[in-house]
Symmetry: C2
Subunit: 336 residues, 2 copies
């Protein structure tokens, strides 16, 4: 494959930083790397493959000669700058919520629906982190029966709220241990040794923004707009891997061995379900790992045809940067 | 009320310490206070109402003259020593799992089923912490319709595993911030900035010990052996308040205003459900509080007749010591 000129929008953020690392690690065919960020960050030097690269200011004409642009700078900047990137001929992978629910834009987890991208698509949306991680656990199971209903409660790490939120967890924890009063900034409530309902606003239907994203994006990724789903999203004092407690109800009885086999065989999923040693998915072990781990697999005793699962995945990797780079890999052959 | 001679078994543990504080705070009519603990802790001095009291070794003849004994030293010691306490004429409130599911022994949350204790009962079991907190949220709702099914995922603090586990969370967190490798002792897995499936063993049915307690005790406390319930219990890096994400399905539609009213009116429950300011139950605010807080009240969009709730309560207070002392208050008039 020929080398591609890549723009990384939001290159200094938590996800942008991780995208650079994933591109290196996966040996993505990068020709010129163009890190873009707010004027405040412009001029900073990043390292890529051992070479220094200078962060440029994100502006309309920044995308000349760019083949592929990965956006991770929030929905507002995506809405403002993806049109210029597309006009410059770049393919865009957008990690924000700006276009995810647009019926014309594919919302892609490569292992699940990467094969469905139409030939003419130039803009691909990268899903919400909690939705990716949930779908990685659900998609393998759709071969066992029709999934009728999903009830999920999340344990979401601070990385989903950005690099400053991760720093706030560490700083505030240091403060707590020194008997200081916390002064929350990134979050509304203290996060050290605490947890709280996700920091997105509660919307008309009583679910918060994150829950609505998780529910609607899961329906779209799985191609199941009719899927019944209810989510509770909670922020926990963990740095960068999310967990999810998931109840999955099928239209027929399923064997636990079939559930385990389907999960173990699926690309990007790792079974972690050792009852004897009480070893199940946990953030500490999933941090830095590409695979989403699934375990605590058991029948739900309260109803026929349902199973319980516990899932963990690195929010910055499969939940964001890794998935975006995988989408870029899928799209690379389409660069004109 | 005349003064009672009280034995506190496990007086130096996390719950025992809290029982002493609750007895003081509620001005329980204590005559003589007898703190009992393992021979290792005997001779230590505790403070009660500003007076020093010496810890005595727990042994068969320790209960002479004791009117009421509160046991919080684990199931093995309860099985071994409650018979001597009962033979000495004491009423026993047992905080262990030893007798909770014995059909002859009442499992009591005073606000819910305190009125049902038979006149001849001398031994009362204090429920599992997660079960008490769940039942405090469910009991008020049983006036709105028959509860058909409950799905609960917990966020359980370290205090439920004892004082050493709380200390381990703090010490390990200090270590993490200083780049030290964690050396877990109280828990099998590192707890600092991590979370994991509850540390009890996974049993035959695929649920772990804590989940089975939570499910069967909830059925017993609510007097609903037929209640369909599925639980996932998870340990989180929080010190002493548990949270629970609860999906409650009724046999009929329920109005959210009725849910809120029923919760707000129930003794020991506090509504914490402010959507506009994103203020919902959280461990930091529930620590040291007697009431169990309930919020995030919304209809479950995935099925008719179900509501979602988020609950938090101090594991050491309503989840253990406070409930035990409330039971002791109920039983005090029965002292012979």
């Amino acid at each position: 494959m020929s080398l591609l000129n890549l723009a990384i929008v939001g290159a200094t953020g938590a996800v942008g930083t991780e995208i650079l690392a994933v591109l290196e690690q996966r040996n993505f065919p990068v020709g010129r790397l163009l890190p873009l960020a707010s004027p405040r960050s412009a001029g900073k030097t990043l390292s890529f493959r051992g070479e220094p690269v200078t962060v440029q200011a994100l502006e309309e004409n920044a995308f000349e000669g760019v083949d592929l642009a990965l956006f991770s700078a929030g929905a507002t900047r995506s809405r403002e700058f993806t049109p210029s990137a597309l006009r410059s001929g770049a393919i865009v992978v957008d990690n924000s919520s700006a276009f995810r629910m647009d019926p014309e834009i594919p919302l892609v987890v490569p292992e699940i629906n990467g094969a469905n991208i139409r030939e003419d698509q130039r803009l691909i949306a990268n899903p919400n982190c909690a939705a990716i991680i949930l779908c990685m656990a659900l998609a393998p199971l759709s071969s066992l029966g029709r999934i009728e209903r999903v009830i999920v409660s999340t344990y979401q790490s601070t990385s989903g709220a950005g690099a400053l939120a991760m720093e706030e967890l560490l700083e505030q924890t240091r403060g707590y241990l020194a008997n200081e009063e916390p002064a929350p900034e990134a979050f509304q409530w203290p996060i050290a040794f605490n947890l709280f309902s996700h920091n997105s606003e509660v919307e008309e239907n009583g679910y918060n923004g994150e829950e609505n994203k998780l529910m609607t994006e899961t329906q779209k990724i799985l191609g199941r707009p009719d899927l019944k789903i209810s989510a509770t999203c909670v922020r926990v004092p963990v740095l960068r891997a999310h967990c999810e407690s998931v109840n999955v109800q099928f239209d027929r009885p399923v064997e636990l061995t079939s559930v385990r086999d389907a999960l173990a065989e699926f690309d990007g999923v790792e079974l972690c379900d050792d009852r004897d040693s009480n070893h199940f998915p946990m953030p500490r072990e999933c941090t830095g790992e590409d695979n989403v781990r699934v375990g605590r697999i058991r029948h739900d005793q309260s109803t026929p045809n349902a199973v319980e699962l516990f899932v963990s995945g690195d929010q910055l990797l499969k939940g964001a940067a890794l998935n975006a780079v995988q989408v870029a890999e899928l799209m690379a052959p389409r660069v004109r």
